[in-house]
C-alpha cells in the first residue's frame, strides 16, 4: 500500500502558521490547561489561542511529525503514537478512531478535568488523528457523567456549527468500571455490547469495532497531538527529557488530603510535585505526623508503592521509575500520610480491584479475591503465618493468565506493597500496627459492580 509523499520535510508539515505563540508562559507550562484557574475554555477562546485545527489535507502526513516529537500515549502504556497511527493506517480500509476518556481509575481525575476544561484540544486531536489514519468514523468514549457528556455535546454542536470538524463524533458512554477504559473493553462497548475485555486475537488496531481497524488513544494524548500539529516537534520537545519528551497531566494526592490535577514536564522530581515531608524535617520520635508521607503510590492502582525516602530522589520519568519497579502510567501520584497503615490501604484497594474483575478468566476471579482476603488478614492482628507465602504463590499463579492485564497490574501493586511496607507487616505479625483503625486515604467508589448489567 503506497501513499504519496516524499521523505518527511518538517518545514512543510505545519500547514498554517499559528495565530499566536505556543501556550505556556516562561516555564513553558501549562500547555493543555489554561493559564489562569480551572475556567473551561469555550470555542471562541480556543480559536483565539490556537486557531482552527491544521488539517493536512491527506492521510498519514501528520505521522512523521508525531514520530519526530516522540509523543507517547498518556493512557498508561506510553506506546509511541506515530507507531500506533501507522499500524492502524496500514491495517486496512475504513478505520475507526476513538478517544478514550473513560478513566476508570478512581485515583485519576486528569482525563475528566481535561475534557471539562479543554475539550476543544481533545476534539481537535481526534479530528487530526482521524485524518492521519484516513478515518471518517470517530467516537469519544466518555465517563458516565451527565454534566460532562452534556458539555461535550454542546462543544461538538458548536464545532459543527462553525464547520470545524471533518468527521462527526459519536459520544460513547462508558460504564463506571475500573476496566472500562481497557482497549478491548472499549471496543466491545463501542460495538454495542458491554465493556468486557476480550481475548485480543487479533489486536484492536487490526480488527476492533465492527471488525474494522480501530485506533484507541487516550484523550490527553489527543490534546498533545493537537498542539504538536500546530507548534511542531521542537516545541513539544522543549519540555521533558530527550527520551521522554513533553509534558503530562498528573493527579496529585497530597498527604494532607488535597487532590488536584497539575500539568508538569516529564523528568520533574517527584518532591517538586508531592509534599513528602512537612518541612519541619526530622524523623524524630514525635510519632507519625499526618502531613508527612511514608510512601508514594506511583501510577495508580496498577502501579507501585515506593518508600518516601526512595521517591524523594526520583523523577517523573520511566527511566528513573522502571528500575524501581514503577512507571509513570496515567500520572497518578499519591503520598500516603505517615499516620495511616499502608497494609490496610493496600488491602482495601486490592479488594476493590478483585471485585472489579470482569469474571471471565478463572485465574483472575479465583486468585484476586483470595489475595485480597489474605491481605485483609495481614492488615489485621496476628495474621496466619502462611499469609505472605499464599499471597506470593497466588500472585505468581495469576500473573499473565488473564485476557487483559488486570491480574498483572494488581499483582504489581500488591508486590510493591509487600516490599514497601515490609516493616509494617512485621509489626502486624507481632500483633501491632502503627495506625490501627486509621481512616481510609486512597479514594474508592461507593459501589462496585454487582450484576452483569453494571458493565453496560
Amino acid at each position: 500500500m503506497t501513499y504519496a509523499t516524499a521523505a518527511p520535510n518538517l518545514s512543510r508539515t505545519t500547514v498554517q502558521p499559528p495565530i499566536q505563540p505556543p501556550p505556556g508562559g516562561a516555564s513553558g507550562l501549562p500547555r493543555l490547561l489554561p493559564e489562569h484557574g480551572a475556567v473551561p475554555v469555550d470555542l471562541p477562546t480556543h480559536l483565539g489561542h490556537h486557531g482552527r485545527p491544521p488539517y493536512r489535507g491527506q492521510a498519514r502526513l501528520l505521522i512523521p511529525l508525531l514520530e519526530e516529537s516522540g509523543l507517547t500515549g498518556r493512557g498508561g502504556a506510553a506506546f509511541p503514537v506515530s507507531r500506533k497511527l501507522t499500524a492502524v493506517a496500514d491495517a486496512g480500509t475504513r478505520p475507526i478512531v476513538i478517544g478514550n476518556g473513560a478513566e476508570g481509575e478512581p485515583a485519576s481525575d486528569k482525563d475528566k478535568s481535561l475534557l471539562w476544561i479543554s475539550p476543544h484540544l481533545v476534539l481537535d486531536g481526534l479530528q487530526l488523528a482521524a485524518e492521519a489514519v484516513g478515518s471518517s468514523s470517530v467516537g469519544l468514549y466518555v465517563h458516565r457523567s451527565p454534566r460532562l457528556q452534556e458539555r461535550l455535546r454542546a462543544a461538538l454542536a458548536e464545532r459543527a456549527a462553525a464547520g470545524i470538524d471533518q468527521a462527526p463524533v459519536e459520544l460513547i458512554d462508558a460504564p463506571p468500571r475500573f476496566l472500562a477504559g481497557e482497549e478491548s473493553a472499549l471496543a466491545s462497548r463501542a460495538n454495542g455490547g458491554a465493556a468486557w475485555p476480550r481475548f485480543k486475537q487479533p489486536r484492536v488496531f487490526e480488527r476492533g469495532v465492527a471488525g474494522r481497524p480501530t485506533l484507541v488513544q487516550n484523550v490527553e494524548t489527543l490534546a498533545h497531538l493537537a498542539l504538536i500539529a500546530r507548534y511542531g516537534a521542537r516545541w513539544f520537545r522543549s519540555l521533558g527529557t530527550a527520551e521522554e519528551p513533553g509534558s503530562m497531566l498528573c493527579t496529585l494526592h497530597q498527604a494532607d488530603g488535597t487532590r488536584n490535577v497539575v500539568e508538569t514536564a516529564l523528568g520533574t522530581p517527584l518532591r517538586n510535585l508531592l509534599r513528602l515531608d512537612d518541612g519541619a524535617g526530622g524523623s524524630g520520635g514525635a510519632g507519625p505526623r499526618a502531613s508527612t508521607a511514608q510512601a508514594v503510590l506511583v501510577g495508580g492502582y496498577h502501579g507501585a508503592w515506593l518508600p518516601a525516602s526512595l521517591a524523594a530522589g526520583m523523577t517523573l520519568s520511566n527511566a528513573a521509575l522502571r528500575p524501581a519497579g514503577a512507571f509513570t502510567g496515567a500520572g497518578v501520584l499519591a503520598a500516603l500520610p505517615a499516620d495511616r497503615c499502608g497494609v490496610a490501604e493496600t488491602a482495601r484497594v486490592t479488594r476493590y480491584l478483585a471485585l472489579e474483575s470482569a469474571g471471565q478468566c478463572g485465574p483472575c476471579f479465583n486468585g484476586l479475591p483470595r489475595i485480597a482476603t489474605v491481605l485483609d488478614e495481614l492488615a489485621g492482628s496476628r495474621p496466619d503465618r502462611r499469609a505472605l507465602a499464599d499471597i506470593k504463590r497466588w500472585a505468581g499463579l495469576v500473573e499473565g493468565r488473564g485476557a487483559c492485564h488486570h491480574p498483572d497490574g494488581t499483582v504489581r501493586f500488591v508486590r510493591s506493597a509487600l516490599q514497601a511496607f515490609r516493616a509494617e507487616i512485621q509489626l502486624h505479625e507481632h500483633g501491632r500496627c502503627t495506625a490501627p483503625g486509621a481512616r481510609p486515604f486512597l479514594p474508592l467508589p461507593a459501589a462496585t459492580a454487582t450484576t452483569d448489567a453494571d458493565w453496560s
Binding site: 478468566c361 478463572g362 486468585g367 488473564g402
Partner: protein, 67 residues
C-alpha cells in the same frame, strides 16, 4: 518452525482435558485452569498437541506459529 500452545482464558472454563492429554506441557492450577509450559511443542508431541486442541470442549486451546 515449531508451534506454540496458547489458551484463550475467557473461553476456558477449566474442563481439564488438555492437561490429561498433554501432561508434559500443560498442568492445572489449584482451580482447574491450565498452566502452559510456555515452550514450543516438541516434534514428538505434535499429535497429542493437535488432539488436545481439537478435543477442548470450549475450543479454548490453540496452536499457533509465532511470527
Amino acid at each position: 518452525m515449531k508451534k506454540q500452545l496458547r489458551v484463550d482464558p475467557i473461553a476456558c472454563t477449566g474442563h481439564g482435558l488438555c492437561a490429561e492429554l498433554l501432561p508434559e506441557l500443560i498442568t492445572l492450577d489449584e482451580w482447574g485452569y491450565p498452566i502452559l509450559a510456555g515452550q514450543p511443542v516438541p516434534r514428538g508431541l505434535d499429535r497429542e498437541a493437535r488432539r488436545a486442541v481439537t478435543d477442548c470442549p470450549a475450543l479454548a486451546l490453540k496452536l499457533y506459529r509465532p511470527s
